[in-house]
Symmetry: C2
Subunit: 517 residues, 2 copies
Amino acid sequence: MYLTQGLKRNVQIHGDELATQDGDRARTWRESANRIAQLAGGLRRLGVVDGDRVAVLSLNSDRYFEYFFAVPWAGGVFVPINIRLAPPEITYWLNDSGSKILFVDDNFLEAVKALDGNLETVQDFVYMGDGATPEGMHAYEDLLQEPVPDAERGYEDLAGLFYTGGTTGRSKGVMLSHRNLVSNSYHIHASGSYRPGMRYLHAAPMFHIADGLAVFGVTIIGGSHIFIPGFTPEGCLAALEKHQVTDTLLVPTMMNMLVNHPDVEKHDLSHLISVIYGASPMPESVIRRALDVIPDVKFTHAYGQTECAPLSTLNGPDSHVLDGPNAGLFKSAGRAAVGVDVRIFDEDDNEVAPGVVGEICVRGPNVMLGYWNLPELTEETLRGGWMHSGDGGYMNENGYVYIVDRMKDMIITGGENVYSAEVENALYQHDCVVEAAVIGVPDEKWGEHVHAIVRLYDGEAVDEATLIAHCHTLIAGFKCPRGVTFLDEPLPLSGAGKILKTTLRQPYWENQNKSVS
Amino acid sequence: MYLTQGLKRNVQIHGDELATQDGDRARTWRESANRIAQLAGGLRRLGVVDGDRVAVLSLNSDRYFEYFFAVPWAGGVFVPINIRLAPPEITYWLNDSGSKILFVDDNFLEAVKALDGNLETVQDFVYMGDGATPEGMHAYEDLLQEPVPDAERGYEDLAGLFYTGGTTGRSKGVMLSHRNLVSNSYHIHASGSYRPGMRYLHAAPMFHIADGLAVFGVTIIGGSHIFIPGFTPEGCLAALEKHQVTDTLLVPTMMNMLVNHPDVEKHDLSHLISVIYGASPMPESVIRRALDVIPDVKFTHAYGQTECAPLSTLNGPDSHVLDGPNAGLFKSAGRAAVGVDVRIFDEDDNEVAPGVVGEICVRGPNVMLGYWNLPELTEETLRGGWMHSGDGGYMNENGYVYIVDRMKDMIITGGENVYSAEVENALYQHDCVVEAAVIGVPDEKWGEHVHAIVRLYDGEAVDEATLIAHCHTLIAGFKCPRGVTFLDEPLPLSGAGKILKTTLRQPYWENQNKSVS
């Protein structure tokens, strides 16, 4: 069980078939694996030894794919960086992970320059673009020299650090092993959603573990990879048609833009077999529209967490129907994936009866090794051998999971997780703010958006725009409040002294039919 | 990764669906899992503690299936006994494994009585039949009392001992872990041969790891199990039709009898989707006949070893065609299964070039922990991290493996492995025999049959029938020679002093088109 196994099997049995297609650049498995072994050689020459972290900040590309295999081939640990972070957050991820090398494409050269002087461990930069190599960086293609043998780390060895938002206001690195990522691939294979010979479009960002499912799962089963730099409905539609794509993964926001695009029916999407979506609830109207415009496509809802590498439950095509006994079943997050134990626990970690709300807990070979350098949080999250997701939900008599709340106080906006505490921390750093609570409020386009409720110190004054601008200096744009409500009186508190967010949310949600899938 | 995981997932998501069907006796997953937890409770009360071995000698049944899950549920290790063994061999397996308990059905009560006094470790016998419980045995249904919690051993923990013929003349216990058996299931899932909702007929004997693939793989993916006691073409055809079977596994001898049965086309086999075959080469005439009488069925050839739990390579439906570019490809053993590394090594364990014959070697999470109590043989077989199969073969440019010889000097007759050395040992125990060599010779019905070439001590005389009868007192009937050739002169030897079996085989095979798949 090691990540590069599938790569080598593909060279053996699909050597002359398509591995990667990026624009007009196509490579076979033999070519791709050879480049990966050469890139691993380059990493070794830069000093990478077993267990060293190697980060990347880039839009999607075939080189990003090669990075995902060259790093373990060289014995290293990959650290994909969220492309929407603010500079202090990028700095934190790189320093916290102790990354030795940073890969960067043209789109983030300026962002990386801005980090100058703050990076504690990065020694080398690799420029992934095709332009002139910036001073002080290595050109990607120059690193491809003498290939080295595969380090063949595997099983429990650390393969990657995937950072996720932190309730403490700081991101935390989720440690995923080779076994975690390979097992997770097997779990999706057994669902029947993936198949040998599939042609997968990487439209969702590759830094995210949801796309990682495909980077590894499609490789292991022997499919081909198509890349677009990032999602636009036009670019996605064009690639689906041109490259006869059979499979892709979209977050609901992308799906919404795609199926409601005026040109959707002008494109030949006849090769498309299966679309997996995840990361947040899909509004019913979007599903209805999708079933209408691409009726032959099989839809699957995948629910999971970075900590589960990421798959916990799946809701398959049988549930995506508008009539018959299964009508409406798409509102569920689905049932335990093959190989994964899913249970609903009460506060004392006892399993609750069907229909009773509790915390969704997960166990399996896909569950993370733990949080990087956070042993106490790891122990707490994995207590009793179960990954405590922080998501509230219930399970019906037939094993269908319904998510009803996010116990960790998280907002999902446009497919991105935003932890309220992180935004509140930013607000609290403003001198005028005495009390702050951040909630998600309904948003037609993004599902929810971030909203702040703030009380200022007596006699202080600051306006909405200033407070939002203050946040932008500290955290990623998508995490910043879109609006601020100012209260004159103290925020409502629970008996235990916690701010009563349910009370704060109520006026925004009371007329909403919040169908959380 | 533990064997009972799929069982519990099925209770959660398929609780009211069919788990097992044995004759007219049908049970849901909820019922089946409850019985398994109760049977595990019975095993615990009989004193089973973690790691204890529990053996079974029985034809196929739903109770055999329950045994396969109750033993790990109780923390034990299953030891399925070959139903065709002679009493001394059964005794050896039971004593060597140190089995504490033996499950036995009506068909083997007499055989077990004959072991009386020779068993060193068996303390309890469990009678699996529905008749009167023999004295000194526990009734199966009486053991089903208070359920116990699942021991949840998993990963590297020993799950089962599967005995295989030994080149040293003794069987050896292959130690398979939970991870071995679960990984192997994932590997077949990824091939697309298995699918949720499948209805699998256990026609091949359940003691064999080839059927174990289905016991665990079908359970994990959420299918149903149909049992017949053993293979007869009539019984198999009737069950395929009556229970709307979608999947089964047959050895070539069974397939031959099935597709050439006069009534094959009178049965409704329209539900049959996929047939896997393995264990020995399939004659081309049988494949042609199969494609003719059940043309809608997808055929897959699985090649493997007990040591690989058992899957190494697969040759899928695309290769089972009579026309086009893939015609004839069914003569190959196929390509590495998903998750499995397969290479051809020379005598120094270096990989050979495509087309060059060497030893087929296998690596993966499915490869055994080792041989029970045989550390030196384990180390030799698993040297360098690769399982050395003892099978000779080559791989073509596209990764297709062709088996050309059995380096371990093994005969496959009717799907059963017979190690020449074991038969030769039996012959040598006759006082008149000075030299013996056992080879496989062509057989229309069984593929090969066992033939002995013998030289007697000067002045001694014994006839063919007596020598064969002598073997029957020592080894299983299927291992005994069908014929004996007596030589007056010493058997031909190689320079190293080994009997030249190639020379002995030559007259039998020279006019045969030995197409070993």
